[in-house]
Symmetry: C2
Subunit: 498 residues, 2 copies
């Protein structure tokens, strides 16, 4: 006799197995696929996506998950699997297939329009598509339902449970502290010179160094890979098949290293789910903010920190004697952490990065609240850029048209980057309290204690707890911007001596 739960879990595992195939097709498209194979791949992805959607939405799965929610014989983990699956299913059921199709079709075309329009600053070409996407996202929000701002329905896709209200509070706190911090840095007599890291660095030597770091970070190559792609990303095909990418620039040595450390941080999360939950929501990230907390903890708190470089720097210097031979440790650390307001988010440093996010968040929030019209986006963007960063874009391509995100329909996504920063700081603060000699271990290139702590506190829980609860469980208090603000102030006042 098959129990209802057995029936349910076997269907869930089928869905996750099919999603694993989707993930591989996506990864391959960015890393291995020949240039001329795009059309065939689009057919395969769209056929798979249709089937996955159908498998989630069968009436049987609706009934089973509804009934199992009330089944008191289930364990806590089983209950969580049921309720998290049901949550995903409920969302999918609410959006009519015609809207899904129109959204896919529109964003696929809009992305091409954006790619052509951006270098030409062709606002007239891009704006109608942006308007159409915003309109479709409004329809989606209406289907999903929300309290207050329709934007909250979009946020929930990436950061379940987050609201624009609470993100506003957090980002306002951050803004209030970051803007004066940036002024202090700019006014400091200490001037960072990042040109040290922008010289010709042979890629083959870079590769070898990246592989050493990756291995020492304990990213498993038995259950993962590192490849190269145009934009670094992590694809969890299965928790035992986690693929990360980086990119190598001959003239920017930190591009690959920071890409590798960042993505390996994501990768360790995906490799840290518990095997007994593979193929269920319990072996999946709870939110993008939590995912980003892992990548940013490793990239910024570890990879841009003194403890990390204390022992890596001599090796790094020995690998590149012509480029780094005469540089002192302090000069190097300052180069690595140099702060300079710039127009482009993806090139921003740790301090100004959040200002880019605040700009996008406030704009998206007010757009969906009905306070901004599409044709006003550029003006609002430029005003906020001046206010936050002290600079105004020289053109739309370096302003509101710079990111691919909007053209592919990603609105409500940007704030997860800053949420990740906040969570990362709180986690890193806590792990320092719990592992007293953590800096020492890091500077001995022993990342095992840190990885184990993150695994126990975050990774292994999958989607068992909501993001905020997960952070609270791991750190003993509710998420707060304090640790992140303190971290930024302490680090940069030290580096820039004020």
């Amino acid at each position: 006799m098959t129990t209802p739960y057995e029936k349910f879990i076997s269907a869930v595992k089928e869905v996750y197995a099919l999603r694993s195939a989707q993930a591989l097709l996506g990864w391959d498209q960015e890393t291995m696929m020949p240039a001329g194979a795009g059309e065939g791949r689009a057919h395969a992805l769209s056929a798979l996506s249709k089937i996955v959607q159908e498998k989630y939405c069968t009436p049987e799965m609706g009934e089973l998950s509804q009934n199992l929610l009330e089944d008191n014989n289930l364990s806590l983990a089983q209950k969580s699997i049921v309720s998290e699956f049901k949550k995903d299913r409920d969302k999918l059921v609410k959006i009519p297939p015609t809207l899904v199709e129109e959204f896919a079709h529109t964003t696929s075309l809009a992305q091409q329009v954006w790619a052509e329009a951006r270098p030409k600053n062709d606002k007239a070409a891009f704006n109608p598509w942006l308007g159409k996407i915003i309109d479709l996202l409004r329809q989606k929000a209406e289907c999903l339902g929300y309290d207050g701002n329709p934007y909250d329905a979009l946020l929930d896709e990436y950061e379940p449970g987050a609201t624009s209200g609470e993100i506003t509070v957090f980002l306002n706190d951050l803004k209030k502290e970051t803007v004066p911090l940036l002024h202090n840095i700019m006014d400091s007599k200490v001037k960072a010179d990042s040109s040290l890291l922008f010289q010709p660095f042979p890629v083959s030597v870079q590769k070898a160094f990246n592989n050493v770091i990756l291995k020492e970070m304990t990213f498993s190559l038995d259950t993962g890979r590192l490849d190269v792609s145009a934009h670094p990303f992590t694809e969890g095909i299965w928790p035992s098949d986690v693929r990360i990418t980086t990119r190598f620039s001959e003239t920017d040595v930190m591009s690959a290293i920071m890409g590798t450390i960042h993505e390996a941080g994501h990768g360790l999360y995906e490799q840290g789910f518990l095997p007994e939950y593979y193929g269920t929501p319990m072996a999946e990230a709870i939110s993008l903010g939590v995912h980003e907390s892992q990548s940013r903890l490793w990239e910024n708190h570890v990879g841009r920190g003194e403890a990390f470089w204390k022992h890596y720097f001599p090796e790094f210097q020995a690998l590149f004697p012509t480029q780094l031979g005469t540089a002192g440790f302090d000069t190097f650390m300052l180069s690595l952490n140099s702060v300079q307001p710039s127009l482009i988010r993806v090139e921003a440093d740790e301090v100004t990065y959040n200002l880019h996010i605040i700009l996008r968040f406030e704009l998206e929030r007010d757009l969906f609240a009905g306070n901004i019209k599409v044709e006003d986006i550029e003006t609002v963007w430029n005003t906020k850029s001046e206010e936050l960063l002290g600079i105004t874009p020289d053109c739309a391509g370096n302003g509101y048209m710079q990111d691919v995100h909007w053209s592919v329909g990603l609105m409500g996504y940007f704030p997860t980057y800053s949420i990740g920063n906040m969570y990362a700081a709180q986690l890193f603060h806590k792990v320092h309290q719990e592992i007293e000699n953590l800096d020492e271990e890091i500077s001995r290139r022993n990342f095992h204690p840190l990885r184990e702590w993150l695994r126990a506190g975050i990774h292994q829980h999958g989607r068992m707890y909501p993001a905020k609860k997960l952070i609270e469980n791991a750190t003993g208090e509710a998420p707060s911007a304090t640790y992140y603000i303190d971290y930024l102030k302490e680090k940069y006042s030290r580096l820039y001596k004020f």
Copy 2:
């Protein structure tokens, strides 16, 4: 209004899109997948395979294809798409899912048993699994139906329309000529010394040379890739995404080159289907024999021929001056084509290769006809080996347990290798008549005329004509062993001077 054909073709294209995903998962497993990811991959493949099976077998597709067969408004190509799809569907419908599942389960385990048993010559471990597989294949043959020998139902899976009767005639002709040919070669005063090609050859130089050949063969890297795997293979993920592999041996320089040329021959077939038929049976190989004819034409008739090496040899020699610096062209050609009976099929030369196939074919045929029992396989194998090759295996691992094929359930598959040889010789003979200066073009490294002829005669037709008809259309006569036998006799009597 959607016509029945539009409805049908859209479902066909969905099936082929899903099969494209399956193909990618298979390719990735052999080339890129981390070692520890096998279990997750098995889930994904089995979920996909179940869905593909279901999509073929819906009652609606049965009804649609039946009705469309009688629709006189369809074009010839549309009719062929319907009838070929229906042929595939009819086979799938006949085999009960329980048998499919038991077969997949059994062969998956049997392959592991084989891999462990072979090095230990552990017949007691392997034979029960072999017996079980033969039993399941008998059940499959009963489901599929056959005239005479159940083996014909299995042959039809790989070489549609072929029968054991006609293959017996062909292979008897070949045997009658090959055995004395081999004796003449062995008795010749000319002794080939293949050790010239078994020296240390740096892999990086080999790789560069392989890439040159691949490009000159006109294999498109815009719609294909070359990678490395344990056993070379070709995976057509889509006709615009054809992936071939080779393997590099430091001490056997021809292993990679012949692997590349062979697989590129397969690859050109897959790249040569017509774009308007992508996602249908008209953009698919008609049989394994025809597929193999393409790989073997390139590998043997081109890649082991004088015209090919006339211009490649000086370059090859210059790349490896220490290894090949003093060798003359004739010595090199003799090394490349040296004949020596050996126990292992995959290491066999062009002359003895077919004897290995004849052995397996006769054994499989008689096994399914009920004339041989599982426990007699080794004795029959060893007797035939002595009779055909003049040598008896020293152990089961070098005898009947040498190939992976039986353990994964591939019976009826081996003959397609010799059918491919026969078709290749007939095609190569014909193309020489039609393109008078073909050898000259090949020796100028211009493979375009040959590729175009194969594309026009074979590739572009997909499954439009049955294999034998396709060869007849391309060459003006029904397939016959004559050209292949003449080719072998002419080539080897010239090389071995008798």
